[in-house]
Structure formats: structure tokens, C-alpha cells
Symmetry: C2
Subunit: 597 residues, 2 copies
């Protein structure tokens, strides 16, 4: 490299005029204006227009003319003012250009599979195969810059508050609970395996027992799940744990951290106090444990009207202990034809398993259509009055004997209508803490209770007596931070007593022997002076998605995998040599063809 | 928790006298002085003496008396001045004590396997089993606090200099070169495996190709090796890569970072310019590519004297192209009896494979004993003069036809003598860059050349012609940072041209097909505008060992593994369910007993 840069491509301004400088970068555009060659040279910091004059430097201009997009070059030249008409006030370097006197071609590019200046010119699959090219796009450069800023903002906030950063092992013991572990065969210990952490949960609790008081780590975690579009096999979390605290201490810390991140990364002021809402209220009001509160359209109780109606469907649901709830979608009645409503009905039936979707439309001061015929005019007037219904509003009703399902369905419908109708304001952030989650839920697959958060979550103290008599009613000291309908963080106050932890394992259907085999080290640690403690973990990738305004998790991860956990760039996972497997004391299953590709 | 702390145990001073406060912590000591109970309460921040008066609070004092070491308690009380005679000026809280009015026992401890106040009261094995207890010791608290500070100092130094932090995948493609990969079977892709990164080398190069310009990451890496005492299966490195740079840019950055870390973490001023020395000079002068330059005792050339002597052993070594070198160990001749010298001779023969160790002793103005009889008085006088030998110095000589072996043996002897004789000053730090490493070395196991640094290292441009004719002579653009004899960091300017990389793979005995199968993604990426780039990686655990002055790598890792890669706390790796293996399409080898423990 003969010409090493003196400046970056984002640095030169009118102040540098007449200076001789060297720039290094990629060719973003190359135009020939009657022999004069204009190249926009790009690096991470910006773009600078560089010009090659066929009169002053004929040979270099001829070389420059032949250069293609994404070639890497070094140019030496004099910073010159742009002609008045060419000044670009949108660019930091828009007042100047570089009048080139020397050129060094550092690396040429083959013809491109897609344009760096237009990401959509290639399919996502193609872009993942050539991820190094997509990394040059403005979109990915921007979201990874936000990611970088968020790392730094997070750590400095926590380090300033006496949190100590500790790395926990990646090669740990397999204790699957919920999701599947990724396993790593041990070469030195035949037949044994490590697991990759689904979270450093037990380690951070052991750090509290070890007296570290306040811990954090930005850490990779792993879940071998059938991936959804917004999941990755490896993901990052901000992991936090604190000793001698109650729920409010953790919430206040999480609130302060979130405010600091949004302020430092986006200049965004979040409210000083985030609203707090119980799980039950969130379900009743929004039909979701992670409500998007950027818009209203709250769920309404319809049981009393339904029970007085002539609609046997609703009445039998109520008689069987079910729920009937409604939403009022404002000013949409004329837009929602029978066909549209049928479409929504099919959607809720298919995806939420309810029997149907009922509706009424508000017109001429009354309510008509749909199920309105089952109600007296007086009842209809009363409904309009209670909910302050206006003409052209449309009311949707869902009833189900499984009350939770009725709520969730209506919650999903609320979101769906809001999305369709653009009712959700963009570029605002509405944080919310959801509290008092149930400790357990019945897992139909497992045929037993499973921990809603995880098995180390403390029950609410007043509900402890219910653990024996009515476990489903026990509330946890667990909490989520929700922003714009996304669960951004979740945590709990932990169990720190051996007996309580043993009772919890038992509730989860674990025998004492199994509990000992899997978590004996933690149960034992509780015997040696465990402080009360609790914590929270932020989904870092999700947080960056919110901060950078993307819905695609692959935009915020440098080298993401597909939904089938594959890297299209290098084709990982790949076949390996028989010798490697032999050393690890494993073989492929009989039904797997050997490693011939 | 009724009594939540208002202050930590390291916080209270005379300023707080007469304030009512609450402390939470662990019982470090519990003494009964004539009924008055003195407890030293400990947390991460310090210790506070708390007193229970049997007159003022008889019941509480009685409870306190029964409390044991490492019980976790909360105490409320009034900050009081200590009686004059009891003031402890070494403790920040030494002027006060807490006069307790309320006590809450948060968690009791079972009898301890070893004392937190005296780490040596338990074997290392026992301490690893109860690691959470060892984490409470002053030694581990201190080294993990240093580790925490080093993380923050590293990141802020790099972030301030426009480095962007990027996470690279943990589940990557297996491309073993040198060490063994840890493998992770894929459930979704039958018969395929991910590997855990030995380093993010290819990813950081792809980030440079992706235009990120300056990258860093503090990242876990993995090597499935037969472990040495100072190695762990997972280790941490500070990973750095830069575009458009030459070697000096990377060295200056590494120097600035190291200086900043030592200053911020230890208040230590390292030299502004670290000495730089070629690999060849380091080998010639210190017999090591990571010389400890805290003391002298440099290697001396002895070929000319040897060739003029009557000592056939030396002369035949020289005739066969070998080397004869010497060291002068000052003022030790009287201490190094025949027996001591025989011991050293056995040691170099056993561990370094040389044929012997020769010596002479300086006395009465001459040189005598050992091999002195093969030299004339004139020659002996000339040796004394050239090397400025004083009476009672002892000279050691090593000759070997493998010149490198002669140098290494004498380098090891130099260190061994320095250690035995306490010649190495403590608490000073001598950094040094070693440059111009050979690109390749002949791997006797592999039966071919292997990359000395890694296969992505650029040769020195003037040596490129030798790649065909005399590969062993090619010097790399590779460099190490050495401090006090430890390799703290290593890096190189990388190859960024496809053809050169292909030539390198060929030199390493890889066919074009194999190169394509393993590193095709990187070779392809070089086609799309790869900037010149280079970087360096710091061994983070080693750096923390230096900063905290420990020789035990397990002191600087929260949850370390043994040299057989096992966690004694939770017994990872462990047996797993047959079902888990089945889902991953693998079986245990036939010679492995099933997972019954």
C-alpha cells in the first residue's frame, strides 16, 4: 500500500481546501461527464466526491474511467471547493471535492450480485450468501452502529452503578428445561457432553451467593428450537443480577438503564416512570401479556350484555365459565364489508381456535347487522352509551369457554386491525412493566405444570400457601419490560432457600433424585449463605431492532443464520471428518448417510 | 426481607456517626468479648464492625452469639465512634462501629469446607467444588474486579478511537487448522455439525471486507486441546482488526491500548514506546520468541571460541551447521556445585533434548573446571575479557546441530536460573514487540509446512519470491506483544488477495478443492473489493493474570475448569438423555458405555 489515507471519506470540509490529502475507500459511483471522471469514494465514515481531470492527469483519468463499483482505491489529491451548482448541503463533505493527482488500485471487485446502494436489488437469500457485501449497505452499517452504541451505553450505565462484569462459562452442564440444549461432545470424558447456555441463570445466582452483589454481562445464549422468523439459534442478552433487593429495585434499575440507552443511542426521552400493570390487567385490557399501548382500542367486558341477550352462543359460553369480550374499532364500519369480516373470522378461527367472530356496526345512531338482532333496541342503546360508540364504528366480539383464549384472540384482532389501518404511531416508544405473572402454567405437552418464567422464580410470599392447594393461582415475583408490544426484558426475584427450591422442583414434576442430579450444585450452594437476590435479562437483539426501527432480526446481527439455523455464506453447519467424530466418541445415527456431499 | 440495606459494608465513616443505618452482609468473624458480641459484617465493598450489647438488646445479642461464619444477616443500628483503642486505621470503616438495635437472619450457612478468610485452608480441588465460596475470598474478588476494570478500559479506549464492537457467531463452520474444534451436532441438518470458534479470524476479515474499517470484540474462543496448567478449554481474547493499515499502525494501537489498560487498572506507567525486536534477535539474545527482558543474562555467541578449541563435541556440532551459545550467570559459581550442575544437565537433556550442558567457573582471574581444559589460557583470558566475566561467575554452554534447539535450551536455562536465584524483579512490567516471525514452520506431525501464526498471515513483500524457492525463509508480517516473558498479544497483516491466499493454502499442503471446500467463502469474498487489513488479538486471561499478579489462570476466571476440562462444581461435562442424542442424529461410539452413571 503506497498511498495510506490521511483522512477518512467522511471528514473533509471547506476547512481542508487546498490541503493535499489521501483517501482510501470503495467506489460507490463512477460517472463520466464529458471526460471528467467523478467517483464517489465511500468508507464507513462517509462519502467524498473525487474528480479525475483528463487534462491535468490524462493517464490516471483513463485508469479511473475503467474502474468499477466496489473497487478499492487510494487517491491522493488536493481538496478543492465544488463549483457552486454542485454543492450538496446534505453531505458533510458536500462543499468540497478531491482533485486527484495520484491513484493506487488496492483491490478490484468482480461484477456484483446486487447493488450496495440498493439492498433490495438482491433477494435476502442472495444477500446472506454475500453477507460481506450486504454489510456495506447503509442499512446494516447503521443498525450495527446502533448496536455498538448500545453495548457501550449499557456497560457504562451499569459499571457506574457498581455492577461488576463477569463472564460465565459457555461450556456448561446440560439441564434442559423448556427449550432444547445445544450439546458439545467431550473428547476427554467419553460419552459425556457439555451444553451451551440457554441463559447464564444458575451462574448468575451462584455469583450472588459468591458475594458479587451486582453483576452484569452482555452474553450469547443458545436455544435449539424450531426457529420463528424473529428468532436466531444464538442470541444476545443483557444479563443482570442483584443481591439484597426487592422487585422495585430491579424495576428501577431496568427503567434507568432503558432510559439511558434510548437517550444516549437515539436522543429519545422515555418517561421518568414507566407505567406498571399487572398481568391480569394487561390480559383484560389488551388481551396480551405484552400489550402495545401506543394505541387504545382496549378490550371491553361484554358478559352482562351477553347474558341478557337472546344470543344462545354467548350465553352458553358464559354459563360454562367462559368469557365474552369486545373491541370497538372506530370509524371503520363502511370499510369492513362482509367479505373483510369473513376474512378476519377465518383468521381468528384458524390461528386462535375460537368458534367465530361476531360483530355489529354503528349507524344512524343505533347498532345493526351481525349479532345486533339478538339484542333489544334498549340494550343496543345502552351498549352505545357505555362505550361511547359513534356512527361508523364497528364492534367485534369474541366468546370462548377458555377465557384466556377469548382474551388472546381479541388482543390479536386488536393488533391486526391497528396494523391494517395504520393506527399505530411510528417513532414513539411506550414502555410498560407487566407484573404479577402466574408462577406456573399447565403444559399440555408435558402433562404437568411448567414454570412460566423459569424454575428459579420466587412465588409471591402471600401466595406461598397456595403452592400446595392451588398451584395455578400462585403469582410469581416475575416481571417483564414491554415496549411497543415487544417483550424487551424479563426477570424475577429468585428463590434463595433450599427448601423452597426443592418444593418448586417437586411442583414441576421432578423427583428429589432428578432435582439433585440436575441442580444439586445449586441446592447445595443455597446451604452456604445465599443472599436474597433477583435480576432481569434484556433481549439485546430485540432491543436493537426497536432502536433501529427494523422488523428483521437479521438486520441487527452481523452474521445471522436463516430460520433453519444455517449460514448461507459458509454453509455452516457442515459435514466433518470421520476422524473428528471418532475422537469425540460419537457416531452418526444409522439413518444418516455418511459425510459425502 | 424486612431490613433492606441503606449502606454497604464499605461505606460508613466518621461522617455517618449518629445516623441510623441498615447493613446486609456475610458474617466474616464473630467474637464474644465478655458478653459483648462483635461481628465483622462483609460484603463486596468492605467490612464493618457491628456490635450487639447484651445490656441494651439482650435477646438480639443472644441470637447474634449463636450466628456462624458466612451466615447472611441484616442489621439496623446507630453508627458510633469506636473506642480510641479500637480504631483501625487500615480499614475505611475503621473509625466506627454499628451499635445494633435490630437483627434479621436472611440465610444461614452450613459448616464451611474451608475458610473464606484463608483460601489455603482448602485444597484447590475442594475450592473448585465449592467455587461460590471461593468467589467470596479477597483474592478472587480482587482479580475479578481487575478483570472488570480491564473490560471497561479496553472498550472505552477502542470505542473512543472509532472501533466498532461487533459480535461474531459462536456456531460456525468447522475448519480445523492446528488445534481441534469443539463440535456441535445440528438437529435440523442431519449429520452436520457446527464448530465453536478457535478465534473469530475469518469473521473479522469479512468485517473488513464489509467496510467496518476498525473492529473489536472481547470474545470467547475455544480449543479442544490437551490442556496445560495455564490453558482453559474456553478462553477470552480482545480481538482487533483494522483496514488500510500497515504493521506500525497495528503496533501503535496495541501499544496505546496496553498503556491505557495498565494506567487505568493499575496506575502503572508503561514506556511511551515499547522496544521492538526481530524474532531472530530475540532468539539470538534471549533464546525465546517471548523474552523476559526484566533481567539480562543474554545469550552469547561462542562459535569462534569453540572452533578454535580442542573440544571435539563443539567443533563437530559447528561443522554440521549447528550452534554453540553461552550464558554468564553472575556470582553463582560457589553456589553451583557439581550436583546442582548435574541436575540442570539432566533437566535440559530431558525437556529440551540436547546432549548435554557444559560449564566453566570463573575464579582467581581465570576460568576453570568443566570444559576449560579444552581451551588455552590465552583463549580463556580472551573469553573473560570479551564478556566482562568476574570471579565467581559461572558460564554455561549449549551446543546442538539443531541451532534453534540450542538457542531455546539456553533461553530456558536462563529463565530457570533467574527464577531459582530470584533475579527477576517483581512488580515491574517490561513490554516488548517481537517482529518478523517466520511465516511457516515445518510440522513434523503433519509432515508438511504449517502456518506459524495462521494461514491468513501475509508474507513480507520482499520475501514473496521465496515462497516458491525457499518457504522456510519467508518472514511473515506477524508480530507479538510480549510482557515479562508472556505472549500477551499476537497478530499480523493479513493476505487480502485471492491468488496469494490460494498460494498460501497450497504451501500448507491443501489442494485447491480442499481450500475451496473449507475456505471458499473467504476466497470468494476477496473477489469483491477487499481492503488491505491487519489486526491483533490479546489473550485476555493472561493479561488479567499479569495485571493481578497471579500465576494461576483459575484465579482470573469466575467458573474455571480443571486441566481435564471439567467443572468440579456441577460435574460438567455430564451424561445426557438418549433422547437428546437421538434428536441430534448421533450415537455414542461402540466402546462407550451408555449414559448410566
Amino acid at each position: 500500500m503506497r498511498l495510506k489515507r490521511t483522512h477518512t471519506c467522511g471528514e473533509l470540509t471547506a476547512e481542508h481546501i487546498n490541503q493535499e490529502v489521501i483517501l482510501n475507500g470503495w467506489i460507490a459511483t463512477n460517472r463520466d461527464h464529458g471526460g471528467l471522471i467523478f467517483i464517489d469514494l465511500r468508507d464507513r465514515y462517509g462519502k467524498t466526491q473525487v474528480t479525475f481531470s483528463p487534462e491535468k492527469v490524462p493517464e490516471i483519468a483513463a485508469d479511473a474511467k475503467r474502474l468499477g463499483l466496489e473497487d478499492v482505491i487510494a487517491v491522493k489529491g488536493v481538496v478543492s471547493p465544488r463549483p457552486k451548482g454542485n454543492i450538496n448541503s446534505k453531505m458533510s463533505t458536500g462543499e468540497i471535492e478531491l482533485d486527484v493527482t495520484e491513484l493506487e488500485v488496492l483491490s478490484e471487485s468482480a461484477p456484483l450480485p446486487f447493488l450496495v446502494s440498493n439492498r433490495e436489488s438482491g433477494s435476502e437469500e442472495l444477500r446472506l450468501e454475500y453477507r460481506y457485501l450486504e454489510l456495506r449497505t447503509a442499512e446494516i452499517q447503521r443498525s450495527l452502529a446502533i448496536r455498538h452504541k448500545t453495548y457501550q451505553a449499557t456497560r457504562s450505565y451499569l459499571a457506574e452503578r457498581n455492577f461488576i462484569e463477569v463472564e460465565t462459562p459457555v461450556l456448561m452442564k446440560s439441564t434442559p428445561e423448556g427449550a432444547r440444549d445445544y450439546l458439545v461432545p467431550s473428547r476427554l470424558h467419553k460419552g459425556r457432553f457439555y451444553a451451551l447456555p440457554q441463559s447464564p441463570q444458575t451462574y448468575k445466582q451462584l455469583l450472588m451467593i459468591g458475594g458479587f452483589d451486582r453483576y452484569f454481562q452482555i452474553v450469547k445464549c443458545f436455544r435449539d428450537e424450531d426457529l420463528r422468523a424473529d428468532r436466531q439459534p444464538e442470541f444476545t442478552q443483557i444479563d443482570i443480577e442483584m443481591s439484597f433487593v426487592d422487585q422495585d429495585d430491579v424495576l428501577n434499575l431496568a427503567q434507568g438503564l432503558t432510559r439511558s440507552i434510548f437517550k444516549r443511542v437515539r436522543g429519545e426521552e422515555l418517561p421518568e416512570e414507566f407505567p406498571r400493570m399487572s398481568y391480569q390487567e394487561a390480559m383484560e385490557t389488551y388481551g396480551s401479556d405484552k400489550p402495545d399501548v401506543r394505541f387504545e382500542m382496549q378490550l371491553r367486558e361484554f358478559a352482562d350484555f351477553a347474558s341478557e341477550s337472546q344470543f344462545e352462543g354467548f350465553k352458553s359460553v358464559l354459563a360454562n365459565g367462559g368469557r365474552v369480550k369486545a373491541i370497538v374499532a372506530e370509524n371503520l364500519a363502511d370499510k369492513y364489508s362482509r367479505k373483510v369480516i369473513d376474512g378476519l373470522t377465518d383468521w381468528v378461527k384458524t390461528y386462535y381456535g375460537v368458534k367465530g367472530l361476531a360483530f355489529m356496526k354503528a349507524e344512524n345512531g343505533g347498532l345493526s347487522g351481525g349479532i345486533s338482532k339478538f339484542f333489544t333496541d334498549e340494550q343496543l342503546a345502552s351498549i352505545r352509551k357505555r362505550w361511547d360508540v359513534a356512527d361508523n364504528d364497528i364492534l367485534f366480539f369474541v366468546a370462548d369457554e377458555d377465557g384466556e383464549r377469548a382474551l388472546q384472540t381479541l388482543g390479536a384482532l386488536r393488533l391486526e386491525i391497528a396494523r391494517r389501518e395504520n393506527l399505530i404511531p411510528e417513532n414513539i416508544f411506550k414502555p410498560l412493566f407487566v407484573l404479577d405473572f402466574p408462577l406456573l402454567e399447565f403444559g399440555p405437552d408435558a402433562g404437568r405444570y411448567v414454570a412460566r418464567h423459569h424454575p428459579f422464580t420466587s412465588p409471591q410470599l402471600e401466595d406461598v400457601p397456595l403452592m400446595e392447594s392451588d398451584p395455578a393461582k400462585v403469582r410469581a415475583r416475575a416481571y417483564d419490560l414491554v415496549i411497543n408490544g415487544y417483550e424487551v426484558a424479563g426477570g424475577s426475584i429468585r428463590i434463595h432457600q433450599q427448601a423452597m427450591q426443592q418444593q418448586m422442583f417437586k411442583l414441576l414434576g421432578m423427583s428429589a433424585e432428578e432435582a439433585e442430579r440436575r441442580f444439586g450444585f445449586l441446592l447445595k450452594a443455597f446451604q452456604y449463605g445465599a443472599p436474597p437476590h433477583g435480576g432481569i435479562a434484556f433481549g439485546f437483539d430485540r432491543l436493537i431492532m426497536l432502536l433501529s426501527g427494523t422488523e428483521n432480526i437479521r438486520d441487527v446481527i452481523a452474521f445471522p443464520k436463516t430460520t433453519s439455523a444455517m449460514s448461507l455464506m459458509d454453509e455452516a453447519p457442515s459435514f466433518v471428518d470421520e476422524k473428528q467424530l471418532k475422537e469425540l466418541h460419537i457416531r452418526l445415527s444409522e439413518d444418516v448417510k455418511p459425510a459425502a456431499e
